[in-house]
């Protein structure tokens, strides 16, 4: 079975808003960059399948799939949409190449968050209509519920969660793709407005616009087109029950099981030792800690201490979210997963400039589909085949 490589990446954004470009123009720009980065491929001839990722309600279109082909060079070509996070699309693209039937697959995910005027209501539309929606309120109270239970069970402190924000926003200052880099203090985070106790305003990622396109290829094609392929060594995904009434509120089980699936394939037995750094979904600051634990980077309840001690900072033993995370880059909705994969690719190629992690060889990308979901995807990427 062929190995699978990411051979090209293109990113536009992320920015708080992009009123000057339509979503199509945003996608075109990212696609042009990705094809150029992949050795100058021509999508009209050199691509076997296109995989686009979008959720109709975030776009404001029914069957958004149909609006995708032209700007990717996919008109009258073979395309399908994954209605989910970009990393679910990565899993699909990976499997397509593994079948041996396809050599070159293009993957796309974007966010035009600034086009959504009623973001809160759209998020709420994902809630169970019988049990949860009638209660109303801002849907992010679900994060408050989870953080409360997480802190209670793991003895993680609010300061340790706040430390994630300080770290990520600082990393973001070094990332040209980041919209919300900042030099802030722990005190500022701790004293920012409490929005969904114990969750504070600065601990919540702000949406941003952007688009990421990637080109994946089989070994055969990858080695012909590029001298810097990044290999996908394993992918895993998992979904917990949607029921807020019965799900696990502490351990992000969906991420644990997704990680086990990916690690098994990538032959990772000790993630902290076998992997050099990670890009982890941090829509809310505590989620980075909770996800670190679910990803087996440490025991339950240990992530806060590791963060406080600086082990996950850019120069630490195991950097987490060198990109600045979603707290620093901006929350790219269904593109979140590809924001993670993008940074892992850039780091493994050694192209991360001022935020480059020394000797990075194996990286981990992780995503979550946000409130109110319990779906996670994990991928292990490597510089070495």
């Amino acid at each position: 079975m062929s190995e699978v490589a990411i051979i090209g990446v293109g990113c536009v954004g992320f920015r708080p808003m992009t009123p000057e470009l339509s979503y199509k123009e945003l996608m075109f720009e990212a696609a042009v960059k990705a094809y150029e980065d992949a050795g100058g491929i021509n999508p009209r001839e050199d691509v076997d399948i296109f995989v686009a990722c979008s959720e109709d309600y975030l776009e404001g279109f029914s069957i958004f799939d149909e609006f995708v082909p032209d700007q990717l060079g996919a008109a009258l070509r073979h395309l399908f949409t994954v209605t989910g996070d970009g990393m679910l699309g990565l899993a699909a693209a990976y499997m397509l190449i593994k079948t041996g039937q396809f050599d070159t697959v293009v993957l796309e995910a974007h966010s035009k968050a600034s086009d959504i005027l009623t973001y809160t209501d759209i998020v709420q539309f994902g809630f169970d209509p019988i049990f949860n929606r009638p209660l109303g309120g801002h849907p992010y109270y679900v994060a408050g519920l989870e953080m409360t239970r997480y802190l209670y069970e793991t003895c993680t402190t609010e300061e340790q969660c706040a430390q994630v924000v300080v770290k990520n926003k600082r990393n973001a200052l070094l990332n040209p793709h980041a919209a919300y880099g900042a030099n802030i203090t722990l005190d500022q985070v701790m004293h920012s407005e409490k929005l969904f106790h114990p969750l504070k305003k600065l601990e919540i990622s702000t949406p941003a616009d952007g688009c990421i396109v990637m080109v994946l290829a089989s070994e055969k094609v990858a080695e012909k087109l590029t001298d810097k392929p990044i290999w996908v060594k394993g992918v895993g995904w998992c979904t917990e029950t949607p029921s807020l009434e019965t799900r696990d509120w502490t351990r992000a089980v969906y991420t644990r099981l997704a990680a086990e699936m990916a690690y098994k394939e990538a032959k990772i037995t000790n993630p902290w030792r076998d992997i050099d750094f990670a890009e982890i979904h941090d829509l809310f600051a505590y989620k980075e800690l909770q996800h670190m634990e679910a990803l087996k980077l440490c025991d339950y309840g240990e992530a806060g201490k590791l963060t406080e001690d600086g082990l996950t900072s850019l120069n630490g033993e195991f950097p987490v979210n060198p990109s600045g995370g979603l707290l620093g880059m901006g929350y790219g909705l269904e593109a979140s997963g590809l924001q993670k994969v993008l940074e892992v690719v850039i780091q493994l190629r050694g192209e991360a400039g001022a935020r480059q992690i020394d000797d990075a060889e194996v990286g981990l990308a992780h995503t979550w589909r946000g409130i109110p979901t319990a779906t996670g995807v994990v991928a292990v990427l490597s510089k070495v085949k």
């Binding site: 470009l21 339509s22 979503y23 009209r44 404001g60 060079g73 035009k112 539309f125």
Partner: protein, 171 residues
């Protein structure tokens, strides 16, 4: 009910039972509002509609004149190279005559929607719009020549409805 089947098992319910709340159900009206950025190509297109002109973009490779305009040629996958105007006259590519409205109520006058290949644009490119002043709808034919009827300049807002409709012309 048929001759053979006189009764279905279970309890029969009527519309009235729903109205009276005897049958439980949940209803929800989503608040879904969007404001899509028109972007480079469509912004220019809409601006020009205000001026009573139809804008197209051109590709130097496949030599197409494309309307509605875009900043990339989807055929050649390259940025477009220029802008040009096409005429507000054209030919009916295909059409349909609707006798009922969106809510399935019968219309007094049918609504005719046509795909119009615009003069000056490349083969098979143009606009979707209403057709009016056609007399008897049975007289509408593929290949018929049509022209835009514009709203007066002061009423135009930069929308596709700045053109009121297209009407048949004799040449």
């Amino acid at each position: 009910m048929s001759v053979k089947i006189k009764h279905y098992p279970g309890e029969e319910i009527e519309t009235q039972d729903f109205r009276e709340g005897k049958v439980l159900f949940e209803s929800f009206k989503p608040k879904a509002k969007y404001a899509w950025s028109a972007g480079i190509a469509i912004s220019r297109f809409l601006e020009e509609l205000k001026n009573g002109r139809i804008l197209a973009s051109t590709c130097s490779k496949c030599k197409r004149i494309m309307v509605p305009p875009r900043i990339y040629c989807e055929k050649c996958f390259k940025p477009t190279d220029g802008w040009t105007y096409v005429k507000d006259t054209g030919t009916i590519n295909t059409f349909s005559v609707s006798f009922i409205a969106a809510d399935a109520s019968r219309l007094k006058e049918p609504i005719v929607v046509a795909i119009i290949n615009l003069d000056g644009a490349s083969e098979g490119m143009g606009i979707v719009h209403w057709l009016n002043e056609y007399g008897d709808w049975r007289e509408i034919k593929i290949g018929m020549r049509v022209k835009a009827v514009w709203k007066p300049p002061e009423e135009r807002v930069g929308a596709i409805t700045d053109i009121k409709y297209f009407k048949p012309i004799k040449e």
